[in-house]
Symmetry: C2
Subunit: 341 residues, 2 copies
């Protein structure tokens, strides 16, 4: 294994709480990985050092040297300026407007392609997962916030040179609840995991959600996806109703995106969806179909993501390869799919 | 002029009330034109005959024969299925799901490219007008309805193979006024010319808008853009407030589009905007900037369309040329701009 003739691509998922490095071979088979906490309050200098170390550990686990790396793809939170590879005020990281690309290029001496983590995840699903053969795929990932991404005709959709698809900040309820972005009534403020958790905490406190109360108490930080799914399995109607209402709002926002961008595939992902894929897919489909223009009712399908935590690392690595080699996305996809199956 | 060595492209604007054919030479200079009423209640057979005759008249005016035509571009209302060249239930025409492309190809023996009229208008502005050099241009045209279109990286954005950017049907006011599409609170229902006219008719009836009352009475069908602009020039505050409120709502919907698609240029067009460009550009800019995510505040500009009635004919002809010759849009654009200036 430890031969430098091997070509590798690094996929990196830089999250607010964890960072994850995967080393892939030419067929996009994972050959080494490392996971660490992000320490999101670290200064940029310390944070970027952790990124470097995490890649070095993953290389070591894979038994390959840094020389094998053809390109590094790194998926990061928040808006990205694609021209410079700079993060533009990521909401969940203390590192403001820093240049990830420059530093990693210096250390590893290879091309570094910075992408938005949700875009990377959707690109991963486009290459290897739930959005294969899509002409226009939209991904929506309800979590602490609600992220969105788009792959259009084999490319990450980037508008005016920066990542977009900020579906979490589409206003669905004028004068609705306050959102972290400063506006009111954003989708995120009514349907994120945090919004759901706050409702669940109230229900638990009122004694309407015994499973939640038993396993998570009334603390919004403790409302894990699996606990919520368990409460619904136990027949706690209030819990199901809270989650369905959130999914209904997500469907409303998605209907707006469909009227604007006419995707053929809408991917739902993240921990909540993974724990309750049927509930989310059905409720979002129903809510969106009810609201799109008649011409679009039969033009899209809503599906659950397939790659879980691997979507961002796979997608950022595949995107880095596409961006540096100009590989036709379709060819890359076929090769990669063949390798995965 | 009457030489068959001349190559021409036909641009056709098929509207709900008028149809317009322009014949262009290789530098996209207009060499013949014809304008007729659409008679939107005609059956498809009669309607398509009028389209054919209108093109034949324009050719005659230009002194060129049908043999000179390299391609016909036709901009049509409503969603278009680009794969088949079929109109999908156009709301303002009696011709449902008919195949425009097939018939015109039979008659003229040349390629026919069907596009959505707003897309064609935005493509026209991208090639020759207010959106030159844009990476991602969104066009919003408040009229009887509110149309939208997008040119992304030199191509009409088409999602899952059909026209989209239906910004008129993005919901801005849950449980708001009834929209023609069957939903409630769509942008069109609160900010179209019809929505504005209904408000103006009430104001005129109440005696708050003397210019409107004098020139248009209280009939919503009589509220022409120039009359509205004149009332505002005459200092009728209620009229200005009604128009500004509509522009504010348009800005709200555009903010959502910016958060999703990050356009660098937002073009406003149509009769209302032409009559009051400053009011619309300023109010929409203000309203959108207030609501977009911080990362996008300085990434876009709102501009008034420059080509007026020629946008759709120019754009549909240029798009037909691009689609049939695979002309690099940028090259075509430069050539065309040089010809126009």
């Amino acid at each position: 294994m430890a031969t430098d003739a091997l070509k590798t691509w690094v996929g990196f998922d830089l999250g607010g709480t964890k960072m994850l490095a995967h080393i892939y071979d030419e067929q996009f088979r994972p050959i080494g990985r490392e996971r660490r906490k992000t320490r999101s309050n670290d200064a940029f200098e310390d944070g970027i050092d952790r990124v470097v170390e995490t890649i070095q550990m993953a290389l070591q686990h894979g038994g390959v040297s840094a020389k094998s790396i053809q390109a590094i793809g790194i998926g990061c939170p928040g808006p990205i300026d694609f021209d410079t590879g700079t993060l533009v005020s990521p909401p969940n990281l203390a590192w403001k407007s820093f240049n990830v690309r420059e530093r990693l290029q210096e250390v590893f001496g290879c091309p570094v392609i910075v992408s938005n983590d949700v875009d990377a995840g959707v690109y991963g699903e486009y290459c290897f997962g739930a959005a294969r053969n899509s002409r226009c795929a939209i991904g929506v990932f309800p979590g602490t916030g609600i992220g969105g991404g788009c792959v259009y005709r084999g490319e990450i959709f980037a508008g005016a040179g920066r990542s977009c698809l900020e579906i979490g900040h589409v206003q669905v309820m004028p004068n609705g609840p306050q959102c972290g972005c400063g506006q009111r009534g954003c989708l995120e403020a009514v349907a994120s995991r945090l919004a759901i958790s706050a409702q669940l905490a109230k229900a638990a406190f009122r004694g309407e959600a015994p499973t939640i109360l038993k396993l998570a108490g009334t603390d919004v930080a403790e409302m894990r996806s699996k606990i919520i799914a368990e409460a619904i399995d136990n027949g706690e109607a209030v819990v199901e109703s809270i989650v369905r209402e959130a999914a209904r709002w997500i469907g409303i926002a998605i209907a707006g995106v469909i009227n604007l961008m006419a995707p053929d595939t809408v991917i739902l992902g993240g921990g909540l969806v993974e724990a309750m894929p049927k509930l989310f897919v059905n409720q979002v489909t129903k809510s969106a179909k009810k609201r799109v223009m008649p011409a679009y009712v039969d033009t899209f399908q809503v599906v659950a993501a397939e790659l879980g935590d691997d979507a961002v690392t796979l997608g950022s690595a595949a995107w880095a390869r596409h961006a540096t080699e100009g590989t036709e996305p379709r060819a890359l996809r076929r090769e990669a799919v063949a390798a995965v199956n």
